[in-house]
């Protein structure tokens, strides 16, 4: 949680690149605040303090922060599940409380809150019927989504028999039933195994490729780093950082060199060059892969060669 914030120490706070200025604004919040109160109206907690945000068409926007930082509250305010104490949230230029905006939104909540007594087909059919969609198109879309989230083999099983990963997938499918322009994902990778996480991230990137706008919140930094174009970092209900991920994560005054096939003599020569320019060599060694990559390589290798002991990680 501290890493992006620390890394951003040398990065500038970028409210929006010049190139993005002309893009459509899909979500806009102005001084959006939420205070939770108890039964007697006494203030319990200020979950969100004057949030100003603009999310544009075609980007993957990440809300990042530790637990209780106001990420989910922001999403609920944008979806109209909560009413703001102050300020306002606009989606597609309409107030968040307007039902009509939901025609173009898909929402995957934190825990895939679905009806456990329905099976996958019935679930998608139910949600599909809530949209103005011809029956044939609905059926086609259900088939397509079941295929896409890989639940064809479990399509007639009640959701109460589903594993967490399967529930997450059907949750995503219901969020996409109306082919939405804006997809809101609350902790999309929660409870997923590494393969599921990677698939989810691939699907999110794929959505961007289709021109969709994605708003996601997560406290898993790797997820956000991998998929988001821009992020906002919230802490205790306040916006701490906002900008492009690559900019925020780039440590401007550190250079990293990765080369293959370098001889010891060449390495010595490079060190001399660095010394000559008065720079300090922090590290020069073989790069390591991430644990996620390692695990995935092993799994993939095991699937390709069943029964063989996992070979040395590449």
């Amino acid at each position: 949680m501290d890493k992006p914030a620390a890394a951003a120490g040398t990065a500038s706070l970028v409210a929006g690149d010049a190139a993005d200025q002309d893009s459509d604004v899909i979500i806009e919040t102005r001084s959006l605040s939420k205070t939770y109160r108890d039964f007697w109206g006494r203030q319990k907690v200020r979950a969100l303090k004057a949030l100003d945000l603009e999310i544009r068409r075609g980007e993957i926007f990440g809300l990042l922060g530790p637990n209780g930082s106001g990420k989910t509250t922001t999403i609920k305010l944008i979806l109209g599940l909560l009413f703001p104490t102050n300020g306002r949230a606009m989606v597609f230029g309409k107030d968040a409380s307007e039902v009509a905006k939901n025609e173009r939104i898909g929402y995957l909540p934190e825990e895939s809150y679905l009806y456990k007594f329905l099976n996958a087909e019935e679930t998608l059919d139910f949600y599909g019927r809530l949209f103005d969609m011809p029956a044939a198109a609905r059926k086609r879309r259900i088939e397509e989504l079941i295929e896409r989230v890989g639940l064809k083999w479990a399509r007639r099983r009640q959701l109460k028999e589903y594993s967490k990963g399967m529930t997450r997938r059907i949750g995503l499918a219901q969020a996409l039933i109306n082919d939405p322009e804006l997809i809101v994902l609350d902790e999309p990778t929660t409870g997923l195994d590494p393969i599921g996480t990677r698939e989810m991230k691939d699907m999110i990137i794929d959505l961007r490729a289709q021109g969709k706008t994605v708003l996601m919140c997560s406290h898993l930094l790797a997820d956000v780093q991998d998929v988001c174009d821009r992020i906002a970092i919230l802490y205790q209900g306040e916006l701490k950082e906002l900008g492009r991920v690559d900019r925020l994560l780039t440590v401007q005054d550190v250079t990293q060199i990765q080369v293959r096939g370098l001889t010891d003599a060449a390495k010595r020569e490079i060190r001399q060059v660095i010394d000559r320019h008065g720079a300090e060599l922090l590290k020069m060694d073989n790069p390591t892969t991430t644990l996620e990559d390692l695990f995935l390589n092993i799994v993939r290798d095991s699937e390709a060669h069943p029964g063989r002991r996992a070979i040395e990680a590449q």
Partner: protein, 606 residues
């Protein structure tokens, strides 16, 4: 059967007339009043939260959204999707078990019902209808109050309200879903209970030709007694051809006929008839004459229930019914009259033989009256009399002449008067308007039975609406309690109103509680010192106001209960059923609108 309120034709009931403002006006007045009060409360709530100006804006916006956007865009497709969901939820939660329990209760009911009752049909019908009513209402409360709160608690509602679904569609979907499931269960209950009643009342007697004896008087007629079946036996009288009928026992009789020829003739006793009927009564307007023959109110004999008034025997006191629409087309052969009079004795007399009375048919225009027809009134026993077309009328000089009923004793507009008098001195006949009627035919019993179930269905619909509406802003158990409270208030409405208006002796709820604890008689003054008495009565005044309001706003469930008609063998008037349908519709509309606003104004994720 007792009919405390006259059943008006549906249009007379609905629109303003001399009788009153009409149900439509009353509904509009109450609905407008409720709307204004609700708007005011809504504004107060928002004004406290947002300030007076913003509060007003918020209320106006909510109203605007409802009228301009949400109500017009409420579409059947989404309502049906929500309905299906509620149905699937109920079915997958094995709600059909309720029907199984009902079937089980009915299956073993025969063991516990009094099979020697004088009115077995009334007993059986009363039992099945009451059981079905109780079970379906409990089921409606459970299904309607827990569904939405469970969705909110498990947060599944998040995935629904983030789709283009209006709050009205969610409320309507829940209501329809619960109604459809309960309708299916109620239909199954209806089927099984009809079968139970018909099978339970069915029996066959036997009688042997050789057991018959010659009947006195009538040449060739014979009489005898059937075998004992279903805890009773009948006396039989057959004519020379072997055709006849049994006497009426346990509200039914049997046809008897001979089969076979010559020496091997056998008598067959048919299936019971008359037990399951749906009489269509034609009621008249009743008025009283006092002991001197002048128009007056009937006498009260001191009974608490003032439904029936009494006339004194051996005097000119009479009860007069004016019937309309008495035409030869409607009654081509005879005019079938039925009456159930109450008897009040000031001395015991001959307790077995009943009290003698007379009835006279009179032309209201000419005053020509028939010869008095004598009858014997027994307490709570139905007396039937067929007035023939040809009968004798008493002329001004006291002589009798033969007249035709419709030509001389009914006026040109088809009006006819029936004068009932008690013949025995110091004894009294008690009667209410519905105690005497012309039986204008019978409706199919099956349809009448269905109509009783429709009455139960309407109660279920209203309970469901209340349950769903309460569940839009209360948690499951609290919504259940609130819905059950409306049912209790609705069932004891008359009593609650009498407490709220101070008609009941002993004060309001708090004063009654004090009296109970201190064991103080209802009629004694409290005598606790003026300040305490004022405090108690002050709090009571507020509580009684709330009780009055609740009793008047919540439905009168008792009025929907038409099972008494079926159990007593009377057709449920279409006008009555129509009125009940419209009342239920009114509750449905108002409650759906309330449900919409409650759900719309609720922070789902709070």
């Amino acid at each position: 059967m007792e009919l405390e309120k006259e059943i008006l034709p549906i249009l007379d009931w609905l629109v303003p007339s001399v009788r009153g403002p009409g149900a439509l006006v009353v509904f509009l007045a109450i609905a407008s009043g409720l709307a204004l009060i609700s708007l005011f409360i809504g504004y107060l709530r928002m004004a406290i939260r947002l300030g007076p100006g913003e509060g007003f804006y918020a209320v106006a916006k909510a109203m605007g959204t409802a009228v301009a956007s949400d109500f017009p865009r409420t579409v059947p497709r989404r309502i049906w999707a929500m309905t299906r969901l509620a149905m699937q939820e109920a079915i997958r939660r094995r709600v059909l078990i309720a029907f199984g329990v009902f079937a089980l209760v009915v299956l073993f009911a025969g063991w516990f019902l009094d099979r020697e009752s004088d009115h077995p049909a009334r007993l059986y019908l009363g039992f099945v209808l009451t059981t079905a009513q109780f079970m379906i209402l409990v089921l409606a409360i459970l299904l309607s109050t827990f569904s939405l709160p469970a969705d909110i608690k498990s947060k599944t509602i998040y995935t629904v309200v983030t789709k283009p679904v209006r709050a009205s569609e969610i409320v309507l979907g829940r209501i329809f879903g619960v109604i459809i499931v309960n309708t299916a269960i109620l239909a199954l209950m209806g089927g099984i209970s009809y079968f139970f009643v018909v099978r339970g009342l069915h029996h066959r007697h036997e009688i042997a030709v050789e057991d018959l004896e010659l009947a006195p008087g009538d040449a060739g007629a014979k009489q005898g007694v059937t075998t004992r079946e279903a805890h009773h036996r009948h006396e039989v009288t057959v004519n020379a051809e072997g055709r006849g009928q049994t006497d009426m026992i346990m509200d039914h009789n049997h046809e008897v006929w001979a089969e076979g020829t010559g020496g091997v003739q056998t008598l067959v006793v048919g299936a019971p008839q008359g037990a399951l009927v749906a009489r269509v009564p034609r009621y008249g307007k009743m008025r009283f004459m006092d002991r001197t023959g002048r128009p007056a109110e009937g006498i009260s004999v001191g009974k608490e229930w003032s439904y029936r008034k009494y006339i004194e025997g051996g005097s000119l006191a009479a009860a007069v019914w004016t019937f309309r629409g008495i035409t030869p087309d409607a009654f081509p052969e005879t005019l079938p009259l039925e009456m159930t009079l109450s008897v009040f004795r000031t001395y015991k007399g001959d307790i077995v033989s009943g009290i003698l009375g007379t009835m006279t048919v009179k032309n209201p225009r000419t005053g020509l009256s028939s010869e008095p027809i004598t009858f014997t009134a027994r307490e709570y026993t139905l007396y039937r009399h067929e007035i023939p077309r040809k009968l004798k009328a008493v002329q001004a000089d006291g002589t009798l002449k033969d007249v035709d009923l419709f030509e001389s004793l009914v006026d040109e507009e088809g009006n006819m008067e029936l004068w009932v008098q008690c013949s025995e001195r110091s004894q009294y006949f008690g009667m209410a308007q519905a105690d005497v009627y012309v039986r204008s035919g019978d409706a199919p019993f099956v349809w009448n039975f269905c109509k009783a179930y429709i009455g139960i269905w309407l109660q279920m619909v209203i309970v469901t609406c209340f349950g769903v509406v309460f569940s839009t802003f209360l948690s499951g158990p609290v919504a259940l309690f609130a819905t059950a409270a409306t049912l209790v208030v609705g069932l004891f409405r008359v009593f609650i109103i009498s407490v709220a208006t101070g008609e009941q002796v002993g004060g309001g709820p708090l004063e009654s509680a004090v009296r109970m604890v201190t064991q103080l008689n209802q009629t004694i003054e409290l005598d606790m010192g003026k300040p305490i008495e004022w405090t108690i009565r002050g709090i009571d005044a507020v509580l009684m106001g709330v009780m009055w309001l609740a009793a008047n706003v919540f439905p009168d469930y008792w009025a929907f209960n038409t099972s008494d008609f079926v159990a007593s063998g009377f057709n449920i008037d279409g006008n009555l059923l129509g009125q009940h349908c419209l009342i239920a519709l009114a509750f449905f509309v108002v409650l759906t609108v309330y449900g919409y606003f409650f759900l719309k104004s609720r922070e789902i994720a709070a």
